[in-house]
């Protein structure tokens, strides 16, 4: 046996009992879950598989996706408006935005959805018209507030309150000097926001928005109470007829899980990309005499000029 020199000996941390115990416990838990899932007949896996790609489930899936996309898009726009209002120096403007945010964050989404669906009880008829003219059209609120519109309106208005806070956080992350530089060039408030400030909010806003999208995807299941034929509602309609409650809930859950997992891939890519912030000083080359070797790491594409 050759004797190792002390200088050449590797340094190791010997395994302790606890290192094996944690593995054993975790494996036992997972194995137990798999065992009961496989052996418990009540799961009825054949039923799950037979309904997994049924037409009405796929239709529901599509509605869930569309609802998520539409509500997210609209709430991002409204959230931007609210965020800009919230930062206004005009007290009435920022006050209104604050009121909005407090109200929509302070009440449950489910209640808001049901509320919008029943809004006709408060305002049976409204008329949309141009003020100070005779041009106006009466609108029957009951007719337009279908379950789907109520769903979009409810989800959008609620989500906008959260998006506005995210966007406001993004604005707060842009240094004051950026505003001053833009203003000293004579940029108008709008140009400054659009060309200078908003692009710089992206590293904080985009990853947070991605999380909201994933949250929204699951939140849309609430609209099933309004009778919108989304994924959950479609599953419910089927088990209302055949009483296969658990298998169909599993079908819906699996689809939600798949969609959130799929979305989490671009989400983590976005997070990684934006965490290498633009503002961070880059390679040492950037400060050395010849800055040719600096890595181009713009977080936001220069799309403007």
């Amino acid at each position: 046996m050759s004797q190792l020199l002390a200088e050449e000996k590797k340094r190791i941390t010997p395994k302790r009992p606890r290192d094996y115990v944690t593995w054993a416990v975790a494996i036992a838990i997972v194995a137990g879950l798999v065992w009961t899932a496989v052996t418990n007949e009540n799961y009825r896996w054949p039923v799950v598989f037979s309904y997994f790609t049924t037409q009405s489930i796929l239709n529901g899936l599509l509605i869930t996706l569309v609802l998520t996309a539409v509500s997210m898009a609209l709430s991002t726009l409204l959230g931007l408006v609210l965020a800009v209002m919230r930062m206004s120096h005009q007290r009435p403007v920022s006050g209104l935005a604050q009121l909005y945010i407090a109200f929509f964050r302070g009440t449950p989404v489910l209640v808001q959805l049901i509320f919008w669906f029943n809004i006709a009880a408060l305002y049976p008829h409204i008329s949309i018209g141009i003020p100070f003219t005779d041009i106006s059209t009466p609108v029957n609120v009951n007719a337009i507030m279908t379950p789907l519109t109520a769903a979009v309106v409810g989800l959008t208005l609620n989500q906008a309150a959260y998006m506005s806070e995210i966007i406001r956080g993004g604005f707060a992350s842009v240094p004051r000097g950026q505003h001053e530089a833009a203003e000293s060039l004579g940029m108008s408030g709008f140009t400054k926001l659009r060309r200078v400030i908003i692009p710089q909010t992206m590293p904080s806003v985009v990853p947070a928005t991605g999380n909201q999208v994933i949250g929204m995807l699951k939140e849309t299941s609430l609209v099933s109470v309004l009778g919108v034929a989304d994924l959950l509602n479609s599953a419910q309609s089927i088990y209302a007829r055949n009483y296969q409650t658990i298998p169909l809930l599993i079908v819906a859950s699996l689809w939600y899980l798949i969609m959130t997992l799929v979305l989490s891939v671009p989400q983590s890519m976005i997070e990684r990309r934006f965490s290498r912030s633009t503002r961070a000083r880059l390679t040492p080359a950037a400060t050395s005499a010849e800055p040719g070797a600096g890595q181009p790491v713009p977080a936001t594409r220069e799309s403007l000029l």
Binding site: G186, M187, T278, R279, A286, T300
Partner: protein, 255 residues
């Protein structure tokens, strides 16, 4: 008479809450003149400069830039603030260079320089790009146009910032300690650009701690302390042979 490139301030006053930062400041800068503002930290140098391009508002006093009342119009009862659009228009004629450069990190150096002409003056993009190239070459940054601010050294960023301000073809350039955030070996390259600018007849008002540079290029020097214009006059006089005790004490400390 053409008053382009002139600054006239009389009895400027500015307070933050109860703290008076500018007390009856008088200042005249003639066209093509180089004026330096010196003074200890917190004496109101930046505030004065920021008032002159409207980043801060003044409480009282007369401020004429390029011969016009700046940011306000004089009425019988008071000075009335102009609309944002008019203020923005007045600002386009004043270039500002900041201590922290404040380049737009989402744009390349070239786009930074083009941003004023294209986004504010709505100039032709290609012509502006050409102008940006020339300006970048003028500040010694030929071929750096495609780089983002984060890829440039402090001295390079500050030179891009100067080019960006120049792209608006201002009649006046304001500098607020343009070399204070730089590594010592980077100061020279920025001063060289400013020296060049001074030689070409640009009206310049700069806050600086570079006494050597002030002595070299400045026509006039204003020494401020606690919001008061303590001493103002010919640069060589004020820096070489100050009349006021406070100026003497300050210069002894910094030289």
């Amino acid at each position: 008479m053409n008053a382009d490139g002139t600054i006239v301030a009389r009895k400027l006053c500015k307070s933050y809450g109860r703290h008076q930062v500018l007390r009856d400041i008088d200042l005249t800068v003639a066209a093509g003149e180089i004026s330096c503002i010196i003074g200890p930290s917190g004496s109101g140098k930046s505030t004065l400069l920021r008032c002159i391009n409207g980043l801060e508002t003044i409480d009282r006093g007369v401020l004429k830039v390029n011969g016009e009342d700046f940011g306000y119009v004089e009425k019988d009862d008071a000075y009335h603030a102009v609309r944002p659009k008019r203020l923005a228009q007045q600002r386009t004629r004043i270039g500002m260079v900041f201590q922290q450069f404040n380049l737009f990190p989402n744009m390349t150096a070239e786009s930074n320089v083009m941003s004023g002409p294209v986004l504010v003056k709505k100039k032709n993009r290609e012509a502006s790009r050409e102008q940006a190239r020339e300006l970048l070459a003028k500040v010694g940054l030929e071929g750096c146009g495609h780089k983002y601010p984060a890829q440039l050294s402090g001295g390079q960023q500050q030179r891009v910032a100067i080019a960006r301000a120049l792209a608006m073809e201002p009649t006046i350039m304001l500098f607020d300690e343009p070399t204070s955030a730089l590594d010592p070996e980077r100061v020279g390259e920025v001063l060289a650009v400013m020296r060049d600018l001074a030689g070409n007849g640009m009206t310049m008002l700069l806050v600086t701690h570079e006494m050597g540079f002030a002595r070299e290029v400045a026509d006039e020097v204003l020494f401020m302390d606690e919001g008061i214009a303590v001493e103002r006059g010919d640069a060589r006089e004020v820096l070489g042979n100050p009349r006021e005790k406070r100026t003497q004490a300050f210069l002894e400390r910094v030289l």
